[in-house]
């Protein structure tokens, strides 16, 4: 299950590339994936180099840190400056929103990196005299873990900034945006292991666009692309599973029930993109007391810009442009000195492209 060799067998990968090449429909095809881990895997293994010239595989808004509005990151920074201990995942601390949590920490604010929301709750238990805030960013993959902690009775001094997003409505919005022009989706393997493939079947049917869920090893990606392109060629608008060892049709019902016990769907802003209906997970009334912004009396600052001048993260997130088309890419904007979130987040498209650049 976990040995690397089978999932990276170069012979299998090349043969799958051959099968893909034989699926030429005689016209250009534009596919999108919506997972930063997919982009990292694709760049790391150079998989785009193995695809035929008629396929264009773009990265979509698959980076939950990148799509978190600057105003919400600013809330986390202000919570730390207000004296709370703010806990976040590592890359969030370096995302620019006028300033960063890392800079706030250097200036004395108490911001700490955690690997799990459970660690943040343990931290709250160990520091009963302080308010411990968890900046809850992530798609449904992570939202279910936040929900599990809140449902099982977190310490009284623990609260969250609720910034989780939900993926299926985003795909609906992307397909309804005419100038993006997508022929198919590679669905995110781990988010879909939570929601289940059944969340996407109606979308695929309604828009007449195929969607295939894939895993993250090189062969997983190539198998999913092969299955997706076969359906693009046949015009089959359906959802299919190329990651059966991790994805079931009904996903993880326990995880989904945790999410919808603790959260409810709301309209939410995606940084650089705009508002997507029903795409945000806000605290349900029964858990509203866990809202850190209410406890600390913080309201979002509308003046915080989502993008600095010249930054094209929004267009990159929509698959309208490639990172290399952004004038700041690799010059004014690089991982050590990022202008926008896509270059600093672990799942950012620009970060993946920059770190794995290999062409003269």
């Amino acid at each position: 299950m976990t040995g690397h060799a089978e999932w990276r067998d170069p012979v299998a990968v090349r043969r799958l590339a051959g099968e893909i090449a034989r699926l030429d429909p005689g016209r250009p095809v534009k596919l999108m994936h919506v997972c930063g881990t997919h982009e990292n895997a694709i760049c790391r293994h150079g998989l785009r180099d193995l695809l035929p010239p008629w396929v264009r595989l773009v990265a979509g808004p698959g980076c939950p840190v990148c799509v978190c509005p600057a105003a919400e990151i600013d809330l986390a920074i202000r919570a730390a400056k207000a004296g709370a201990i703010v806990t976040t995942f590592g890359d969030v601390a370096r995302v620019p929103a006028r300033t960063t949590l890392m800079e706030a920490r250097a200036a004395g604010a108490d911001a700490r990196v955690v690997y799990s929301v459970a660690d943040a709750a343990l931290f709250a238990a160990a520091n009963p005299g302080r308010e411990v805030v968890f900046f809850a960013v992530g798609f449904e993959t992570t939202a279910c873990t936040t929900a599990a902690v809140l449902r099982s009775g977190a310490p009284r001094n623990f609260s969250i900034i609720a910034s989780h997003r939900y993926v299926p409505p985003a795909l609906d919005a992307l397909l309804a945006t005419p100038d993006i022009g997508l022929d198919g989706f590679l669905l995110p393997g781990h988010a879909t292991s939570v929601t289940g493939l059944h969340a996407y079947a109606p979308l695929a049917a309604r828009h007449g666009v195929p969607m295939v869920v894939g895993g993250f090893e090189p062969v997983d990606v190539m198998v999913a692309l092969r299955d997706l392109l076969a359906r693009v060629g046949d015009g089959r608008g359906e959802a299919a599973n190329a990651y059966r060892r991790a994805v079931r049709d009904d996903g993880n019902p326990a995880a989904m029930s945790a999410i919808f016990d603790v959260f409810e769907l709301r309209d939410a802003a995606w940084r650089g993109i705009g508002t997507i209906p029903g795409s945000g997970l806000g605290l349900a009334p029964a858990h509203a007391s866990r809202d850190a912004t209410a406890r600390l009396g913080l309201a979002p600052d509308p003046a915080i810009p989502d993008a600095e001048p010249g930054c094209r993260c929004g267009d990159v997130l929509l698959g309208r442009v490639e990172p290399e088309d952004c004038p700041l890419f690799g010059s004014a904007c690089e991982p050590d000195n990022p202008v926008g979130p896509c270059m600093v987040a672990i799942e950012g498209t620009c970060q993946a492209r920059y770190r794995h650049r290999g062409h003269a």
């Binding site: 976990t2 690397h4 990276r8 170069p10 990968v13 090349r14 760049c43 790391r44 293994h45 150079g46 998989l47 180099d49 193995l50 690997y115 660690d119 090189p218 991982p335 050590d336 000195n337 672990i346 770190r355 794995h356 650049r357 290999g358 062409h359 003269a360």
Partner: protein, 342 residues
């Protein structure tokens, strides 16, 4: 529960009787050698036949104790290795310790014992040192600063600027072990949970491996130990200095399964993780096979491998060729993914 007698206090650093007692009971007795035992302010050493190499290093690793070693062992081997990769035979070390008030004496004794063991194993003597104590909260447990002195070989490597296209690049063993252990320990993973697998720090001296190269008639062009920033950083820095590119074959890189596991779980790249018992050697292409065999014949070198070669300057200082024929660029990072790694 520690009583007053069980921890380091400010009085231990005051320079008076308590300091002398601490130094005597903890350090001198562990490190004992003629130069140290004379307990002068400076160590009087025999003549060195040849040019002298010196190095200095600070050790602030957190946590101080980790699977495969501790800060003491790291301090000795790190210093020995800096001398070894410069083409020097390591001879003498100094050790200045900055201790935090409240550090358990048992921990200090453990560190001193580790240093003594490591020095004996490496064939070096710790000949002088210093001990200071800072207030609680002003120093994280124990920091160690060393200097190392060695005798430079006549045919020490010319250095990174001598890299030329055609040279072969070798590594003495699997990469990323130390960084993976530290990353794992800090994030709540248990790196050595499975006695048959898992990962431990590779903290070890490498000068006997360097000796094996010279004994086999190989004259390395350049050597370095990939500590902070890992293999990719060492290769990128040296390639930049020489105005070349180093091409690495991903399939030839020795990386332990446990290290891959830690990297998968934490989202780290093993090429950027520190090694503390390895070195990179660049040699003439004609020497590569002989060099690898020489390393593999020595304990600690059994997984040595030829991993790539120097090529004319390309799109980046390091170019990794994947198993699928793809390639990607590696460069230095502005900040280490893991602070206080060594």
């Amino acid at each position: 529960m520690t009583g007053r007698g069980d921890v380091v206090t400010l009085a231990h650093g005051s320079g008076g009787r308590l300091t002398r007692d601490l130094v005597e009971s903890v350090f001198r007795s562990a490190f004992s050698n003629p130069a140290l035992d004379a307990m002068g302010d400076s160590a009087a050493l025999p003549r060195v036949d040849g040019r002298i190499a010196m190095t200095t290093d600070g050790f602030v690793v957190s946590p101080a104790f980790f699977p495969g070693g501790d800060i003491g062992r790291l301090a000795v081997n790190g210093t020995v290795n800096d001398l070894a990769v410069a083409g020097a035979v390591p001879l003498y070390l100094t050790a200045a310790c900055v201790l935090e008030e409240g550090l358990p004496l048992a921990d200090l004794r453990r560190v001193a014992a580790s240093m003594a063991d490591a020095a004996r194993a490496a064939g070096v003597a710790i000949v002088t040192g210093d001990t200071k104590v800072v207030e609680h909260g002003h120093g994280d447990g124990i920091f160690i600063v060393t200097a190392g002195l060695g005798r430079l070989r006549e045919d020490a490597p010319p250095g990174e600027r001598a890299l030329r296209p055609g040279h072969a690049v070798l590594v003495s063993g699997p990469v990323g072990d130390h960084g993976a252990v530290i990353a794992a320990t800090r994030s709540g993973l248990d790196p050595a949970g499975d006695p048959d697998g898992g990962v431990r720090s590779d903290c070890a001296p490498v000068h006997h491996l360097v000796d094996a190269l010279y004994a086999a008639g190989v004259r390395p062009v350049f050597m370095r130990d990939p500590t902070r920033g890992g293999l990719a950083t060492v290769l990128a820095e040296s390639a930049r200095a020489a105005g070349v590119t180093i091409e690495v074959r991903e399939d030839d890189l020795p990386i332990r399964d446990g290290v891959r596991g830690v990297c998968d779980v934490l989202g780290l790249d093993p090429l950027y993780l520190a090694c503390e018992g390895r070195f990179v050697a660049v040699v003439e292409a004609a020497d590569a096979a002989r060099a690898v065999l020489a390393l593999r014949a020595v304990p600690g070198g059994s997984l040595a491998a030829s991993i790539g070669s120097v090529i004319p300057k390309g799109p980046g200082p390091v170019l990794l060729r994947t198993g699928f024929g793809g390639r990607r660029v590696y460069d230095t990072l502005a900040s280490d993914p893991l602070p206080r790694i060594c």
